[in-house]
Structure formats: structure tokens, C-alpha cells
């Protein structure tokens, strides 16, 4: 890892932790921050997988949804504390995620993406058509915020800060991961899975492990989302959410740690700041997806790195930026 990116990550961490307090006065901005932080956690997770050639995990939101609904079930019906329900629900979602994704992980390129889309569609339909657990399309509201010490609840600025801590934890974990042998296997499998297998890397097991970790991120984010927003419905966890997170990652620069941070920071607040112009959000989102795929496959951070390397006149040791393709 270059010192350049280390400074970037350190700086990002400090900013993220400081923001909840800087925005403490304005609850609306605080909420936007909270939602952005949840998206950041999701983006950091999806980034681990999204760099894989052709593995665009469109079922991400569905897995987040499983955790979100499960968490509500555990806290409401079983009376658990949020802090017990969250890890259990996330683990459950991750296991289900791997089980659902397992057969698809054998598939290459577009077929995986399509399979992933189908699984996501099935999950969304399941959320709608099993109202016993999910209350169907109406959704579940008045979800309690997480319990905190002294019988209070985790609300407003303190909740925002908790989300900031979670996002930072997610970033630091994923940074650490890239330095491990497992992280290097992820990169090798992503870059060229046939070659990786030839030099002794168990591609299938690596993919499964990656998928499990990514599903954990999805699930944890899903639990926080439920408790933070206080209301969930199948719409909250549908394919558009997966697509959006993918966009944040790709726009910022997938395969890098800073990329998803940049992408989320720029794009996530927009729909909230543009409240009334709902339909424009779709058009903007769609346009960005096309632009990013055609013009900027390396994302903003990727373009920045290329610029740097040209200025320095030598090959910069980029860790994970891909030139072309998804």
C-alpha cells in the first residue's frame, strides 16, 4: 500500500468520525450523513467483490434485507437487544447469502450478474409475498432505535457517531484484509481466475469466502438501516439499491479503498438533497451508470492515480485499478 493512500485513508477516517459532531446542529444534514455512512459501509463491502471480473453482486440489497427483517423479528418478537440481534441477523443473512450465491458463483461474467439479478428479484418478491414476516409491501414501521446504556436509546448525534464508527471499522477491516494472504487471493482471483488457479489458489473457496464477508457487510448495514430509518419495506432492499451501491463503488474507483469512500461521499447525499426531484434521480443515476462504464471504468480515484503516474513519469504501483471492462 502506498503511503499516499495510507494518508488518504487516515484523513478519511478522521473526517468521518468528526462529521457527526460538526453536523450536530442540523438534524436533516445529520440524517443525510447517517444514510451516507450506511451506504459507505455497504460500498466498502461490495467493493471486495465488485472488482471481480464480471461479478456484479446485484443480490446485495436482498441480503441486507434479510438481515434487516430478521433483526426486527429478533428485537420485536423475541425481545432481544439490538446488539445481540444485529450480529445474529447479519450472520444469518451471510449464511443465506452464501447458500443462494454458491451455485451462481460457478458462473462467469454476465451469467453471474443475471443469476444475481434473478435471486434479488426472488428475494424482493419474497419480501412482498410473505407478509407474516415482513408485512408485505406496507412495510414495518416504528422500529426502535438500538438500546443504549442506562435504559436510553441510541438516537440522533450519538447514533450518527455509532454509524461513523461502524463505517470506519468497515474501512479499516477491508484495508487490513488487502494486506493479508486472503486479500491477495481476492485480488489474484479478480485479476485472472484461470491463472490464479494455475498457481495454486483455490478459486471457488476464495470466492465463497469473499462472498461471505461481503454478505456480512450487507447484513450489518441492513440492521443499522432498519434501526436508523425506523421503517423498512421491500422497496428499501430492492435491486435499485444494489445498483446504486455498485454505482458509488464504480464511480469512486473500485478495487481501491479510497474509491468507494469518494464515490459514496459524492453520490450518496444527492437523492436526499434533491428531495422533490425524484424522477431526476433515476435519470441522473442511469446516466452516471452509462458514463462510468463507458468513460471512466477506473472511477474518479482511478483517473486520479493515472494522472499522478503520468506526472511522475513512471509506473505507479497501483494496487487494484483495472483499465477496461466491468
Amino acid at each position: 500500500m502506498t503511503s499516499h493512500s495510507q494518508y488518504g485513508i487516515a484523513a478519511a477516517t478522521l473526517v468521518i468520525l468528526a462529521l457527526p459532531f460538526l453536523l450536530a446542529g442540523n438534524r436533516f444534514l445529520g440524517f443525510v450523513l447517517g444514510m451516507t455512512l450506511i451506504s459507505l459501509l455497504w460500498a466498502t463491502g461490495m467493493n471486495l467483490l465488485s472488482g471481480f471480473v464480471g461479478l456484479m453482486p446485484l443480490m446485495f440489497a436482498g441480503i441486507a434485507g434479510i438481515a434487516g427483517y430478521a433483526m426486527v423479528y429478533f428485537t420485536r418478537t423475541a425481545g432481544w437487544s439490538f446488539w445481540l440481534a444485529m450480529p445474529v441477523a447479519s450472520l444469518l443473512a451471510a449464511i443465506i447469502g452464501v447458500a443462494l450465491g454458491l451455485p451462481a458463483l460457478r458462473l462467469k461474467g454476465f451469467y453471474f450478474t443475471l443469476c444475481s439479478l434473478v435471486i434479488q428479484s426472488v428475494l424482493t418478491l419474497a419480501f412482498i409475498f410473505f407478509p407474516k414476516f415482513t408485512n408485505g409491501d406496507t412495510g414495518i414501521n416504528e422500529i426502535a432505535p438500538p438500546d443504549w446504556f442506562g435504559g436510553t436509546a441510541l438516537t440522533s448525534v450519538r447514533f450518527d457517531f455509532a454509524l461513523a464508527v461502524a463505517a470506519v471499522a468497515g474501512i479499516l477491516f477491508s484495508t487490513w484484509l488487502t494486506q493479508t494472504h486472503l486479500g491477495k487471493k481476492f485480488v489474484a482471483v479478480r485479476e485472472d481466475d484461470v491463472l490464479a488457479e494455475s498457481i495454486g489458489i483455490d478459486v471457488v473457496r476464495t470466492r465463497i469466502t469473499a462472498f461471505f464477508i461481503v454478505s456480512l457487510y450487507a447484513g450489518i448495514g441492513g440492521c443499522f438501516y432498519s434501526a436508523y430509518v425506523g421503517f423498512i419495506s421491500p422497496r428499501a432492499f430492492d435491486v435499485l439499491v444494489s445498483l446504486n451501491i455498485w454505482l458509488f463503488v464504480t464511480f469512486g474507483g473500485r478495487g481501491t479503498i479510497l474509491g468507494p469512500i469518494i464515490g459514496t461521499a459524492i453520490l450518496a447525499p444527492i437523492p436526499f438533497l434533491l428531495q422533490d426531484l425524484q424522477a431526476f434521480k433515476d435519470i441522473l443515476s442511469g446516466t452516471l451508470i452509462i458514463l462510468v462504464t463507458l468513460l471512466m471504468p477506473g472511477g474518479i480515484y482511478g483517473a486520479w492515480l493515472k494522472l499522478l503516474s503520468r506526472k511522475r513519469g513512471r509506473e505507479v504501483q497501483t494496487t487494484q485499478v483495472r483499465e477496461q471492462g466491468v
Binding site: A104, G109, T113, V118, S121, Q278, I283, I289, G325, V326
Partner: protein, 293 residues
């Protein structure tokens, strides 16, 4: 058989045939483009809807005759396809993993179109129906079928037949199939691969637009047909076999009948579940589908 059960049977039969024909047509359009250019068009449902909506606008707002409106939409559709190819599609002809890249790009296109529809058509009406091209009904025994729907079915099947003939006998068709099989080999044999890509994209897209037009005449619709059509078309393509027009026909008709039968007992969403299920099973066990290209 009692009169009412006969009616139900005939009704189901006719719905199945008509829906099946339209499904097959759209799926054929999608499968040609995927098989040739490796372009899975996630926005095929939006194209379908676009054609239907514009016919509605031309007939209801402009007062044109249905025939004139249809022709106009075809022409506009071809133009749109050409523009899209120029601006968007051709940039990715040589990209690695271009099937994923195209899928993503068309997902973006889907969002854009869906946003445009929310800003426009969604505000103008909930349900859209278009005046028929030809009036009257035909009696199939005790069962009346609108001539309009019959026309839709006949035209769909006719175009599919033409497509078959094109692919089998016309030099363009042979060139197309050569590129389907192996683009390097085709290039070596002197086929202008890029031109074939262009033609295929425009042809496939136009067929999808045609499907939308015919659907508009057969049924009234709302904006949700876009995504149901997309899922159905993809499911047909995957189950039938990417690149196989025969597969699109056989599986399309099957799905059409499935929809018709299921609609008797349950909501169409159940049919959707079954398409998704079929697609999933195919993807997992036989990604090349039932028929060869």
C-alpha cells in the same frame, strides 16, 4: 364439455397464443442482439413500453390512425436504434467482458427511460389503451376474439416467420449466424463484423419496438409492463438458448400459455415467479439453454 368450460378453454387458448406470439417476438429481438453482439439488453422492456406509449400519444393526442401511428413508431424506433448504436453501443464492441458492460449500460438506460416515463406518462394516465387497427370480432365457436388481437398475433407470427427465413436463406442471415458462432472465423471469411453488429442491433431493437406496438393494440397496459416484459424476455432467452430464434418461439409460446393458464387461478405474479424459477434453473444447470443458436 359444457359451454362455460369450453369458453374458458378457448379463452385461455387464445390468450396463450396471442401473449405467446408477442413474447416470442420480443424474445427473438433480445436473443438476436445477445447472440450476435453479446449485448444483453436489460432495457428491452422499456423499449417495448416506449413503443406502446408513443403509439398511444400519436393516436390519442395527435389523432392519427392506428396504422399511421404504428408506421411512424417503427420509423422512429429504427432511428433511435441507429442513434443508440452510434453513441453508445459501438464503443464497447471490443471491450473485455462486454456482455457485462452492456448489461450494466442497459441497466442505466432502463433507469433513464423509467425516470423519463415517471416524469411524463405517469402524470398523464394510469392505464393506457389504444384504439384498434381493425374493428370487429371473429367467433371461434362460442368464443369471440377481437380482430385486433388476431391481427397482433398474425403479424407477430408472420414477422417471426420472416426472421427465420432471413436467418436461414438470406446472405445477411448467414453472415449473422457466422458471427453468432465465431466472430474471428467470420471476420477471416470476409464478413464485415461491425456492420453485422450494427444491423443486428437495429433489427433486434426494431423487433422489440414492433412487439410493443402490437401489444398496445392487443391489450390496455400500464407502466409496469416494462419490467415484467424484461424479465419474461430474458427468461425466454435463457431457457430457449441465447441466440436461438427457434428457442425464443418455442419457449415464448410456452410462457404465453403458462401465463394464460396461471391467470385463471392466481395473479400474474405467480407466473413471474415461475419464469424467474425457470431462468434460475437453466442458468445453474444448462446455461446454453434448450436450443442451439
Amino acid at each position: 364439455m359444457s359451454d362455460s368450460s369450453l369458453l374458458i378453454v378457448l379463452s385461455t387458448l387464445s390468450t396463450g397464443l396471442i401473449m405467446g406470439a408477442i413474447f416470442s417476438l420480443v424474445a427473438a429481438g433480445v436473443t438476436i442482439v445477445y447472440g450476435c453482439v453479446w449485448l444483453p439488453n436489460a432495457s428491452n422492456g422499456q423499449f417495448f413500453l416506449l413503443a406502446a406509449l408513443v403509439v398511444w400519444t400519436f393516436t390519442l393526442s395527435f389523432g392519427w390512425s392506428s396504422l399511421a401511428a404504428s408506421l411512424a413508431v417503427i420509423v422512429l424506433g429504427v432511428l433511435l436504434a441507429v442513434v443508440l448504436e452510434l453513441v453508445l453501443i459501438r464503443r464497447l464492441y471490443n471491450a473485455p467482458n462486454r456482455n457485462v458492460a452492456y448489461f450494466v449500460v442497459t441497466l442505466g438506460l432502463t433507469q433513464i427511460l423509467s425516470g423519463i416515463f415517471s416524469l411524463t406518462y405517469a402524470k398523464w394516465s394510469d392505464q393506457f389503451s389504444v384504439p384498434p387497427v381493425i374493428e370487429g370480432i371473429t367467433m371461434l365457436g362460442p368464443f369471440p376474439i377481437s380482430n385486433n388481437r388476431l391481427l397482433a398475433m398474425v403479424v407477430s407470427l408472420g414477422v417471426l416467420g420472416l426472421l427465420f427465413a432471413l436467418l436461414r436463406y438470406h446472405p445477411y442471415g448467414r453472415a449473422l449466424r457466422a458471427v453468432f458462432q465465431n466472430r474471428e472465423a467470420a471476420a477471416l471469411r470476409g464478413v464485415n463484423v461491425r456492420a453485422i453488429y450494427r444491423l443486428s442491433f437495429v433489427l433486434g431493437s426494431t423487433i422489440i419496438f414492433l412487439g410493443g406496438i402490437l401489444f398496445a393494440f392487443a391489450y390496455s397496459f400500464d407502466l409496469s409492463v416494462a419490467w415484467t416484459m424484461s424479465i419474461t424476455a430474458f427468461a425466454i432467452m435463457i431457457v430457449g438458448g441465447p441466440g436461438s430464434v427457434l428457442g425464443a418461439l418455442v419457449v415464448g409460446m410456452t410462457f404465453g400459455f403458462t401465463q394464460a393458464i396461471v391467470s385463471i387461478f392466481a395473479s400474474p405474479t405467480v407466473a413471474m415467479f415461475s419464469y424467474l424459477g425457470a431462468m434460475l434453473i437453466m442458468l445453474l444447470f444448462q446455461p446454453n439453454g434448450l436450443f442451439k443458436r
